[in-house]
């Protein structure tokens, strides 16, 4: 008996243990003790999130997108408030080249599906935001992207783990307490927090996010708008016709995008108020630091602008507050306003990220963006990338990285980096014989959209093979990461490289620049380096620059000082295919960097060289000797003889050699190698 009781006593805890173990083993999500794992977690199903999802999907990666709204692109369901997007939807360019056409399509995301081009969604040059929402919905649906809608990620933390790709996992917790474990976190949440400046009376101010968009509400009113960005001007534009006047107040003077060449600055489509201000039609623009400001409400409910330090003098009633015009009777903002509207832009929402992520604000230029490297990876934690609008700290006020037509390419660059880092898929490249080098560059500068939009951020890279007989072509590499090119791309850069970038002229762009000055365009090839408008610039490095060299590059240079540099002269039509104006100088540059002759030759010339010289130019070696010589036709031969570049061999040595062009010696082909010129390579000291 005693024995059996003992057995019973002994058996009971075992059973309890089993019961206790059971829930832990079952995959019941409600308990949430084992988070669902994803290799890639994307926060936000806006344009950047969907773009990244597309690349992950195509690569067959394990990923999920988390979106708090019930559909993609929720920002566009509300913003811009007046519904007109200022990204152009150019449906006709006169060209068939799809890549080229993307240069003028600022709304489409990248995909292999030509139906998913924005021009199929709107006919408007400045399309309606609703069309963007519809487009993004289609993009996610058609491509079958894995998006978890109605999932609000409330908290993100870091969990150290040796086995993780980056030494830690990102733990995401949603509003229901469900946790997700992610190897790589891609933050594409955009800028979602309205920027508010705290000053006395800021409670009287209407925010852009909630102000009425019905002009009827502003009839006969005096309106003060704080801010001078596109949202401020868009708001003003909407009510310009019905108000008494609109005054706009901002910290610094207006930056016009056609002067700064930055699409985030004030666009011409929104600048109607500039017109009425300059024509003295009552509207006006003023500059003042908003933090010094105070707004007081009088007994009639009208608003008066005053200065903060006037209020600090004592606690007085609204009507007794001193106003600047008391001392200075022509103070500009002396009238009373019926409304004050704040349009001060947006900030990144840092609140959901735990401190352990060390995701800090404050790029050098603005605190509205999280701090990232030029590879878009957070400086604080490896494996956390910021995409889309929130990644704009990299090229704020310079390039288009904060906008769809820019970040669709930077997202692709991040994806290529991840493919190499975690899956051993090297950065895509094509390999060609050196004779194709000028053609490869010409092709890209004429059609590439990523280079064009993300000028001075993404650049093409040509990696030379040993002896410069062949090269690899890599597209759209984040150029600030040049020193880390080998690790990021998995490609070797041991024999020199070219970087192909697009640039505006130095000192051409700026808020106070006259961009219409006489002689602004350059036509001569020898003046190409003075080109002002966006034009291709090619940097040649004998060795991959080091991180130090990139960091301490000369001021105003996008890259460290190269061994040699070439500018392809700007072109009114952005068509850089002129044989003498564009291609010839480029060839000369490449030839002098590589110390070789990159001309093309007809088979007959190669034949002559093959039998009269021990060495052949690369074109003959790589074409003719491999039985792929260019034979040419009789009419081209005639032209060659006319130009003096080809001999008419039928008459050679027939006694009338006097009619031969030029003074080439007999038997000396007019194109044979001449006296050596000193290439860039040999006089490096002088450079």
């Amino acid at each position: 008996m005693g024995l059996s009781a003992a057995a019973l006593l002994w058996g009971l805890p075992g059973l309890l243990l089993t019961i206790a173990l059971h829930p832990a083993l079952s995959p019941c999500p409600a308990q949430a003790s084992v988070p669902a794992h994803r290799d890639y977690c994307v926060l936000g199903a806006g344009p950047a999130g969907l773009q990244m999802a597309y690349f992950l999907q195509r690569a067959g990666r394990d990923y999920a997108v988390f979106e708090r709204a019930p559909g993609p692109g929720s920002f566009f369901t509300r913003y811009p408030r007046h519904r007109k997007l200022i990204s152009i939807n150019k449906r006709y360019t006169g060209k068939a080249n799809a890549e080229f056409n993307l240069r003028h399509d600022w709304n489409s995301l990248l995909s292999h599906d030509p139906r998913l081009l924005f021009r199929h969604y709107s006919n408007a040059y400045f399309p309606d935001a609703g069309d963007m929402v519809r487009y993004l919905g289609d993009f996610a649906d058609r491509l079958g992207l894995h998006v978890l809608y109605n999932t609000t990620i409330a908290h993100v933390t870091l969990n150290k783990d040796q086995r993780a790709w980056n030494g830690h996992y990102f733990i995401l917790t949603d509003q229901k307490g469900q946790a997700y474990q992610c190897s790589v976190l891609l933050v594409a949440t955009g800028l979602s927090v309205p920027n508010q400046v705290d000053f006395p009376g800021s409670e009287y101010v209407d925010g852009y996010e909630s102000v009425s968009v019905d002009p009827k509400d502003f009839v006969g009113q005096n309106v003060l708008i704080l801010g001078r960005g596109n949202s401020a001007f868009e708001t003003a534009e909407n009510i310009l016709g019905v108000t008494n006047f609109i005054h706009m107040l901002s910290r610094s003077r207006v930056r016009l995008s056609w002067a700064t060449h930055y699409v985030g600055d004030l666009r011409a489509i929104n600048n109607g108020l500039l017109d009425t201000y300059q024509l003295k039609s009552l509207d006006g623009l003023l500059e003042s630091d908003l933090t010094d400001l105070a707004i007081v409400k009088d007994h009639e409910g009208k608003f008066h602008v005053t200065l903060k330090f006037f209020l600090e003098e004592g606690n007085r009633s609204a009507d007794a507050v001193p106003l600047p015009q008391d001392d200075n009777d022509n103070f500009a903002l002396r009238v009373a306003y019926d409304r004050v509207i704040r349009c001060l832009g947006w900030n990144f929402d840092f609140s959901i990220f735990s401190k352990s992520l060390r995701l800090s604000a404050g790029g050098e230029l603005s605190k509205k963006y999280p701090l990232v490297k030029a590879s878009y990876e957070s400086k604080g934690s490896r494996g956390l990338f910021v995409l889309g609008t929130a990644s704009h700290s990299v090229d704020y006020r310079e390039s288009a990285g904060g906008f769809i037509h820019g970040f669709r390419y930077t997202v692709r660059a991040v994806h290529r980096l991840l493919e190499q880092r975690h899956h051993g898929v090297t950065w895509p490249s094509t390999q060609h014989p050196i004779t194709q080098l000028a053609s490869a560059i010409i092709r890209r500068v004429n059609e590439a959209s990523g280079l064009y939009q993300m000028f001075s951020v993404l650049a093409d890279v040509v990696l030379l093979k040993e002896n410069a007989t062949a090269f690899e072509y890599l597209e759209e590499f984040p150029m600030q990461m040049l020193a880390q090119l080998e690790t990021i791309t998995g490609r070797r850069a041991r024999h020199g490289l070219f970087v192909i970038n697009m640039e505006y002229g130095r000192n051409f762009s700026g808020p106070d620049k006259d961009v219409f000055f006489y002689d602004r365009s350059v036509g001569h090839t020898e003046d190409a380096w003075l080109s002002n408008f966006l034009h291709p610039v090619i940097y040649y490095y004998r060795h991959l620059p080091t991180e130090q060299e990139v960091r301490f590059r000369p001021a105003g240079w996008p890259l460290p000082r190269p061994t040699a540099i070439h500018h392809i002269v700007e072109d009114f039509l952005t068509d850089w295919t002129a044989p003498v104006g564009h291609i010839l100088p480029l060839r000369r540059f490449l030839e002098n960097c590589l110390d070789t002759d990159l001309r093309s030759f007809y088979a007959e010339s190669c034949f002559l060289f093959a039998l009269t010289r021990q060495k052949l130019p690369p074109f003959c070696q790589q074409g003719y000797l491999r039985t792929q010589g260019l034979v040419g036709t009789e009419s081209l031969r005639q032209r060659g003889v006319e130009s003096g570049l080809l001999w008419d061999y039928a008459t050679v040595g027939r006694g009338d050699s006097g009619q031969q062009p030029g003074d080439h010696g007999p038997g000396q082909h007019p194109l044979a190698p001449g006296p050596p010129v000193s290439p860039f390579d040999s006089n490096k000291e002088e450079l």
């Binding site: 094509t430 540059f589 009269t612 001999w647 040595g653 050596p676």
Partner: protein, 826 residues
Amino acid sequence: MQPQLMMSFSFNALRVGISFVMMCIFYMSAVDSLPELSPQKFFSTLQPGKATLAYFCQADSPSTSIFLEELNEADKPLQDYGISVAKVNCVTEETSRYCGSEKDLMKAYLFRGHILLREFPTDTLFDVDAIVAHVLFALLFNEVKYITTLEDLQNTENALKGKANIAFSYVRAIGTPEHRAVMEAAFVYGTTYQFVLTTEIALLESIGTEDIEYAHLYFFHCKPVLDLTQQCRRTLMEQSLTTLNIHRFMKTMEAPLLTEVAEDPQQVSTVHLQLGLPLVFIVSQQATYEADRTTAEWVAWRLLGKAGVLLLLRDSLEVDFPQNANVVFKRAEEGVPVEFLVLNNIDLIVSRVESNMHIEETHEDEDNDIEGPDMDIQDDEVAETVYRDRKRQLPLELTVELTEETFNETVTASDSIVLFYAGWQAVSMAFLQSYIDVAIKLKGTSTMLLTRVNCADWSHVCAKQNVTEFPVVKMYKEGENPVSYAGMLGTEDLLKFIQLNRISCPVNITSVQEAEEYLSGKLHKDLISYSSVSVLGLFSPTMTTAKEEFTEAGNYLKGYVITGIYSEEDVLTLSNKYAVTLPALLLARHKEGKIESISLANVHAQEIVQIITNASLETFPEITVENLPTYLRLQKPLLILFSDGSINPQHKKAILTLVKEKHLDSLTPCWLNLKNTPVGRGILQAYFDTLPPLPLLAVVNLHSGGQVFAFPSDQTITEQNLLLWLKKLEAGLESHIKILPAQEWKPPLPAYDFLSMMDAATSQHPARKVPECIKETDVQENDKEQPEDKLAIRNEPTGTLRTKHWNRSNWFEEAKKQFRHDNKEL
């Protein structure tokens, strides 16, 4: 042009910097090597008739050391003119009237013997140039006449008509480097010509000079003028006023205006050539002598001081030169051949000389940088020919243009050839012409659809087809993978490829009779002209692996060689007939009417390809532009028989016999028909310089050493002679006639060095490079100098009040002006 300008500029800036540095140093420690004498001693050393410049000073005070430095430097040049320089220390015990009191101690005195000629306040002698200029000016008082009015000039001119020539010069001020240069010239030529000097701008204006910024020198040819009412002819010296230039100018004034010669212009030399000036020969014939002489005199006057002019009497000349040439131009540079020109008016001759001079001058300016050929001139033959031919209307409609929409549909609907090209790429566009020629030739006869895609428009289509370089030709056939064309980019070879692709190789042969027809070429009568050989694989039906390998090889060679396969039960009939063991292949050479057999036991597809490729090479081919690469692959020296037209049958027989006897195994024997391959003439010229008599046999060792050996032209090409020669050649007993150049292919021309241009632009003002101590003085000078100053000074009559400060700051202005000038050109 641009980089050179910038370079020369920065060089100047650097030089400015250096000289400033030197001054800084000198200011600090004045080196004094002048003889220092007491007054008594000094006067005892003075020799009668000899000029001496003496500086009397109290003690070695620092304030005078700058002047002493300049004086010290002037010692050497003055001694060259026989003038000695001395420093006299006025010691208290020995008083002299030249030792002034404290306040006017700063004086220098010029003596001739013991006679005082002039005294100079030291601030007149502000630098070496000023010292030399002033001293010579004082000494050459009679030789150099200083005038201030036009009347003075006219009087002098009239007085000298018929007697002497005049060297009239304007300098901006006395004591300037130009003044010194004129005085130095006067020292040499003063007895021959009357020198006249002025500092009056008005005077210069009155004789019609437009650009009065700089110093000027005119030569007045007054000596030949006998009629007093006639003006003296004037020649302006166009170079800047330096001693050397004046000397050169004077020399040319002394030379005869026109010389007659009747010898080879290449051999003629005159004083002009020694002075670095070109010679212009006006070609004359007896019949037109008088007129030619008048013309030549005209030209001679126009070119006086710029070139030597000669009248070349052609009739008595034994040198052969172009019939129509009327002017011969000879440059001063040695070794440059004379140029024969046809210039129909005097202006052309003059401008020819002047443009040449201009180049010479810029050469000097550019610090020996040679102006290269224009970098903007196209030197790519393909690009240039395509560009020149761009307006030709090609019948593009003969090929179907494909787009993103039509591409897939088209290439799947019918067998198609697709040309992938880029409209902006020259090589593509050159090949497009050949492609269209193919379309013209195939018009209406081919089942193959000829299409093209412009990848500049449809880059996605091209990328999808894996086409990333241009041009590329691909063949799309139903049920097969697309095949890239790998032959020559020309009409003939592409046509051959398309034609041979009409049959599906290897062709399945089903009977012995068909096999015989196949081998004889009857089966594919219309195709055998495209394939020099027909290959037939023989297999017994059970040899599946061998058959597969052969089929793979046949597929690979499709479009280049006709292949067939026979593996019926009665295959032995064929193998017996051609005496081979199975598996085997038969190779029918249609041209020669021969059938060879090769065993194929255990051979892989790749090796079969190799066997067939090698077998289809001829033993003694006619070498052409198209087939040379195939034969070069053998890596053997070429034995080439150059023939103008068809080959001599005897020569052919001789070589074929040697081939048969295996004497030529180490060579690739071939012949070249200049009628079919005219570029052969270019090759012969490279070997022999002048075209040798044909036929001609040569051995070209392309792959090791590049020697070219020529079979002796006095021997006939027979087996024996040839064999003997080859033996000697092998034994190293023959010497080569030429070694082919092993030059690397370097960039034909330099590129624009934008990096240097950017550097030059950012380095901004050259003053930054100037050492600190000068920068300060510069600021001071600029403060002192009022804008009007310059004008005022220029109008001062004698300019003896020139100060050192003025001079230097003005010099600085000049440097800045040059900088601005350069800058403007950027």
